[in-house]
Amino acid sequence: VTDIRDDELDVLMRDWAARQAAPDRKLDDLVHRIGERLTDMRESDDVVKARRQPSRRNLRWAVAGGAIAASIAVLIYVVRPFNSSVSLETNDARHANRGNADISIPSLIGDLELSEKARLARELQQEFPGRFAWLMETGNEMKLGLSEDERARPSRFVAVRYVIETQGPDDRVWKAVRTLDFVTQSEETVQTSFASNHGASVAIWTYTMPDGMISVDSELVLSGPVPIRVSSNRLLSSGAPAEIWQSERDGVKYRVYQAAEILENEHLG
């Protein structure tokens, strides 16, 4: 083996690769298909923006919307508070810095929350050396994912948050009605269901890009006043939430925001 030079091997492999290259015609077709998909995506985004414009108010919708929001809100208030006054201040500041008037503030993960999540991740790592894979928190439910085998070296941890929000016809602001929080290792597949939400399930896979961006693939299935089915592949800047789903029923708007943050060494301590 040792008498085969690397450049010989590379020539062989490059020749092989050249033979597998797609012909121009196929690439042109791919460019066209990508353009069509991106156009559809942009039109879809435009629809979302248009729906955010003030619409005609309807008392019946308002009552229904209020009832729905309240019933879900009960679930939230049982949970540990994710909006402590301190973290809200932090979030507000970060929100202001972004200058985005339509962003979901509850979806931002505050610095204190990050430190808290990192502390939890660190403790779980110590408790389950090499096996702690992910942690989910929603409502009063918490789940832990452990790998069967010990890992030689854990990868980076990522905090991912999903916030489900509603806005009734008379509401001026969006209300967060449910939050799903995850701490997961990069490249770890999270697949779980919820005791508190029959038939609901979630699958997440994250990957931290070398430039600090976070790729998050999500499959969310949640039941409720409006069934939520989200299949999303997003490239997120750390801490910059993105809307990944929206719907409207009976004058009440619903949306799901997603945010992700890398738990850096300073968070992990």
């Binding site: 083996v1 085969i4 690397d6 010989e8 091997l9 590379d10 020539v11 062989l12 492999m13 490059r14 020749d15 092989w16 690769a17 050249a18 033979r19 597998q20 290259a21 797609a22 012909p23 121009d24 196929k26 690439l27 791919l30 460019v31 298909r33 990508i34 353009g35 998909r37 991106l38 156009t39 995506m41 942009r42 490249e187 597949t189 896979w205 990957y207 931290t208 890009m209 070398p210 430039d211 961006m213 790729s215 693939d217 592949n233 997003r234 490239l235 997120l236 800047s237 910059a240």
Partner: protein
Amino acid sequence: MEQRSRPEKPLGATDSELISAFRGSGDRSVLDALVRRHIGRVRAVIYPMVLDDTLADDLTQDTFFRAVRGLDGFRQDSEFSTWLCSIAMNCVRSYFSRRPPPVASLDATLNLSINERPDSAAIGQELSDTIRRALERLSPKLRSAIVLISLNGLDASQAAAVEGCTAATMHSRLHEARAQLKRILKAHLS
């Protein structure tokens, strides 16, 4: 890599200029130009990883889809092409996380009986199949080292940036990948 007649850099704007123009205008033709410029390279990164034409096409589309959605976060502290490579590899990892790559049987017979030389004109179907099976036997991390450096000409630092590891790790992976490939392909290379 022989790359057909398509120019690597069409006349006119740089990547940065096209990105700025698209951010400002949302013009589909600007985006098409950007996609057209890089699509051959992106597919050339993805195909040897997944070794399936249809899947490579799908993941190539996903790569640009994700890239455009994440364009606001592109800080331009790396080349756009390198950034795209990172996203392409990420799409592959994401796919493998859902469907782990089949591990080729260790006792697979590779039929290395022909006496072809490693020049481009002489590579036949049998050798092509052998190389494909050899790549299948590499772990995704070793395969990515060969794909990024040997096949697509990135240097170890660029490949390390794509893979999120150190250049030394990348050198080590490349060394191991080449050693494994040589063992499998030695009948063709001798």
